[in-house]
């Protein structure tokens, strides 16, 4: 016994509690509080920090069609005073205790994130409880945050990267709630009332749509008690809404929003696969080979490395509750746009026709499986990744199974998926800039959902 003990201690020191060894990537505990709130926990006491990520399903669907930006205003107002604490008092408490707390009104969910030193956890979680259960929405704070948001909108209206994303979402999801401008617009900022903000949280914050993930220096019992305090008194159910599915609009069309700048920003987008499609992991591999971040991805090789037409070109898959897209983003000097877009479509078509090479497939699997751990090196990485998996409707075992699902993809899967997803002639092309020699089908005079910029109104 005496000889075994030191060995045992040594093993404990070597194996970090968060990473459970070779077979398991993360040791996730699923906890349920006495009021029935569930949370996933990865316990890790190596640094005195705790991260919590949570989300309420909903997001843009609870925003108001005639006055967008209500959810976004709520997200920047929750830490501006709650219960008896006014804005400055609340903010002082956060900053004196070095607590970082933020909220985001996203497309499909309302997100929250808290990071605290473990010694300040009681204060951090109590502030969060107050923010969610009893935000004040004092008039002066509402006015101040509206003014800050108007300022942000006006800055964004001159930013080509923001404009191209806004145009992409506004056009491809035209008529669907996904087309709503999340930040709102100048008109909506002048009409949204305190009542609207209260209406939004009433509909959005229901325990039936809540997912919570915690990582770091905290024990399961502490988490359970915390869950009850923060979320236990929220309404049991969120508002019920219809979530009509949609597919990306304007296939094959080129849409231009003119902007006087030396470069044009470009997004090409088309239909992707559902998250629960049996070929989804194959589409992840396909995206990596096409343009998923490597210097040797096909798009990067053709458009940047060989010809210097762009600083960077990246493709991405986005799975939403009601839509799925694949898109590629880049920017190029106005005179190079035509060639860059042509090459992008050619790369799309070539991969659709032949699929990847055997080497590409092997390299992609090797990267995607090997890099999993690199995405989980901080407590906030871990709690964020867990919250994503929860939102995808998968179990805590997914993170440990994910690599074998990637490795199981075959060349014939790849060919089938590439042919199905990469339809070059169905891509919608969104341009913001002054491109030369482009055939444009639709010319816009403003980004969809936005008022004209203030400069042009005057």
């Amino acid at each position: 016994m005496i000889r075994i003990l030191p060995l045992f201690v040594a093993l404990l020191l070597l194996a970090s509690p968060a990473f459970a060894g070779k077979d398991k990537v993360l040791d996730v505990k699923v906890l349920k509080s006495s009021t029935g709130v569930e949370a996933w926990l990865v316990e890790d006491h190596s640094v005195p920090v705790i991260s919590m990520n949570f989300s309420f399903e909903g997001g843009l669907v609870f925003d108001f069609e005639d006055k967008p930006g209500v959810g976004h205003l709520v997200s920047i107002l929750l830490d501006e005073g709650a219960e008896k604490m006014k804005s400055q008092e609340f903010q002082t408490k956060l900053s004196d205790n070095a607590i970082s707390m933020s909220f985001t009104a996203g497309r499909d969910a309302f997100y929250g994130r808290v990071q605290t030193l473990s010694k300040n956890k009681d204060t951090a979680f109590d502030l969060l409880r107050m923010a969610l259960n009893a935000p004040r929405f004092d008039q002066d704070a509402v006015d101040r945050m509206k003014a800050a948001n108007v300022s942000e909108i006006q800055t964004n209206m001159g930013d080509p990267g923001w404009l191209v994303a806004r145009t992409f979402n506004g056009m491809l999801f035209e008529g669907h709630y996904y087309s709503r401008p999340g930040f709102g617009n100048l008109d909506s900022m002048s009409t949204i009332t305190r009542k609207d903000l209260l209406q939004f949280i009433k509909e959005q914050f229901g325990r039936n749509v809540l997912k919570v993930a915690v990582a770091g220096d905290i024990t399961p019992d502490e988490v359970k008690a915390t869950l009850d305090k923060i979320f236990g008194t929220l309404p049991e159910k969120a508002g019920s809404v219809e979530l009509p599915a949609t597919t990306p609009g304007y296939p094959g069309k080129t849409i231009l929003l003119p902007l006087d700048a030396p470069q044009t920003y470009i997004i090409a987008g088309g239909q992707g696969l559902r998250r629960d499609d049996k070929d989804w992991h194959a589409s992840v591999i396909m995206n990596y080979i096409l343009g998923g971040g490597s210097f040797n991805a096909r798009l990067m090789k053709e458009i940047r490395e060989k010809r210097g037409l762009t600083y960077g070109v990246y493709s991405a898959l986005t799975n939403m509750r009601s839509a799925d897209i694949i898109q590629a983003n880049m920017s190029a000097s106005n005179e190079k746009v035509e060639e860059a877009v042509r090459l992008l479509k050619e790369s799309w078509a070539e991969m659709a026709k032949d699929g990847p090479t055997a080497d590409e497939l092997a390299d992609a699997k090797s990267y995607l499986t090997g890099s999993l751990l690199l995405q989980l090196t901080s407590t906030s990485d871990i709690s964020g990744a867990m919250n994503d998996i929860q939102r995808d409707g998968l179990g805590p075992e997914y993170i440990n199974q994910r690599n074998s699902l990637i490795n199981a993809v075959t060349m014939s899967d790849m060919k089938r998926v590439s042919a199905k997803v990469l339809q070059a002639d169905k891509l919608a092309i969104i341009l913001v800039g002054k491109p030369k020699n482009m055939n444009v089908d639709i010319l816009l005079d403003r980004p969809p959902g936005m008022d004209l910029p203030r400069n042009e109104k005057q």
């Binding site: 990071q115 010809r307 762009t310 890099s371």
Partner: protein
């Protein structure tokens, strides 16, 4: 007596909280025979490592007229060696499940890979290889030159705010290379040649001019033989001293104004050229404008409602002088002059009355906590040590920072107030304003083609 007791009591607490050897990261360091300094920051949370090589050379060490060459070379180091041909560096890293990239600043050039720990020897071998054996063909130079020009267009020329920042730095650092943008001036970037690039490579890339920083699941004992094997074989090479011209005095107060139709929100900022490495100035920036409870935000945004945003900023890590910036975004209906006067009034109050103990302690808490958050990441501490060492400061400067911050007194902050705001170098004020567009002329909007 009560006052005295309180001071004593506080100090007693701080001693208790910080044992004598209160090092934040417990980094270990050794130097190879060829002069390469190695820093190891252990973090065994996951079986991965960050491997970084930092060169003590950046854009501020370029020859006049060759702006952008340091950053251009950083791109070209991915173009291959005799052993690892074009594109194979990143391909190899990716195959091992890693990510890699590089970056350039005025004071340093750095390359990094984040990889599973088993791949550490391979990335060390490849990184050591490209310190000496770069092969560059003329056509690689030509296509990559187009890439950096597109990078400049994307990051700078497409953004009025970034173009404005370039002008501001030019005025603030007269006669000093920080006045030249890291990415280079467009007209000089277009003319960078293969010879110029190779001349920089041969001048500056040497083991005795580099720092190896590894953070993650590795011990010093494990790393040392690997460092000796891969980097120890590289020959020492004489490198020039970084003798940079000193900035000229600023004896006239500048105001730089940019008007652009794409600026939607006016901004005014007052920039002071100050010394680097001052924790007191970091605390001062916190108190004046670090959070939404700071003096500027409280006064301009909450109380007077003449601004929608206000703050202050100081970056301590630089080789030479750095910038202390104070800024505000005017609210609709208030004008730039009014906001500038309100900023000046806050600065005047600071000079006259200094800061309070409560403000000092709040700022200290936040800065100290930020180091605990740093320890929660893999690449964060490695980047911090790399920046500091490549900028000419040492390991203790990082390790003892929390302790130095902890010991700061009100007098220290008041000295910093004088050093920033009562300096003989006058500030440079920058103003960005929306420009009202003339009514669109014929064809100006672009017709459907």
């Amino acid at each position: 007596m009560q006052q005295l007791f309180r001071v004593f009591f506080t100090c007693f607490l701080c001693l208790a909280a910080l044992p004598a050897e209160a090092k934040t990261f417990n980094a270990e360091t050794f130097t190879l025979e060829n002069g390469l300094q190695v820093v190891v920051i252990e973090n065994h949370r996951a079986p991965v490592v960050t491997h970084m090589v930092w060169y003590k050379f950046g854009a501020a060490d370029e020859k006049q007229g060759e702006s952008g060459v340091a950053h251009f070379l950083e791109h070209l180091l991915f173009k291959g060696t005799t052993k690892v041909p074009d594109g194979q560096f990143s391909t190899t890293v990716k195959k091992m499940g890693g990510v890699d990239n590089a970056f350039t600043s005025h004071d340093y050039t750095a390359y990094y890979q984040n990889v599973p720990r088993a791949s550490l020897p391979k990335v060390m071998e490849m990184e050591a290889d490209r310190m000496n054996n770069l092969v560059l063909r003329e056509e690689q130079i030509a296509s990559e030159r187009e890439v950096i020009i597109e990078e400049r267009r994307q990051r700078i020329d497409n953004t009025p705010q970034a173009k404005f920042q370039e002008q501001l730095m030019s005025a603030l650092f007269v006669n000093h290379p920080y006045s030249t943008p890291i990415i280079g001036w467009l007209h000089e970037m277009k003319e960078l040649t293969r010879d110029e690039v190779l001349s920089y490579y041969n001048t500056w890339y040497a083991p005795n001019n580099a720092i190896l920083v590894v953070s993650g699941d590795v011990t010093t004992a494990e790393l040392k033989p690997l460092a000796e094997k891969y980097y120890g074989a590289l020959a020492v090479r004489e490198v020039p001293r970084r003798d940079r011209p000193r900035p000229a005095p600023i004896v006239a107060e500048h105001q730089i104004i940019m008007q652009d139709p794409r600026i939607g929100q006016p901004v005014t900022m007052k920039n002071y050229r100050v010394r680097h490495g001052s924790e007191a100035m970091e605390v001062l920036a916190q108190i004046l404008g670090g959070t939404s409870t700071s003096r500027l935000y409280r006064s301009l945004v909450i109380e007077q409602k003449i601004a929608v945003e206000a703050g202050a900023d100081y970056d301590a890590i630089a080789m030479d002088d750095t910038t202390f910036a104070v800024y505000a975004n005017p609210a609709p209906g208030s004008n730039i002059q009014q906001v500038q006067a309100a900023i000046d009034k806050e600065i005047r109050t600071l000079i006259d009355k200094g800061v309070t103990l409560e403000e000092l302690n709040g700022a200290k808490n936040r800065l100290e906590a930020s180091f605990t958050y740093y320890r929660d990441s893999l690449q964060g501490p490695a980047t911090l040590f790399g920046r500091v060492l490549a900028s000419g400061m040492n390991i203790d400067w990082v390790e003892n920072r929390v302790e130095r911050i902890h010991k700061l007194t009100i007098d220290d902050i008041n000295d910093a107030i004088d050093a920033v705001f009562q300096s003989s170098d006058l500030p440079v004020t920058g103003v960005m304003l929306p420009q009202i567009k003339p009514p669109p002329g014929k064809g100006d909007k672009g017709e459907k083609k």
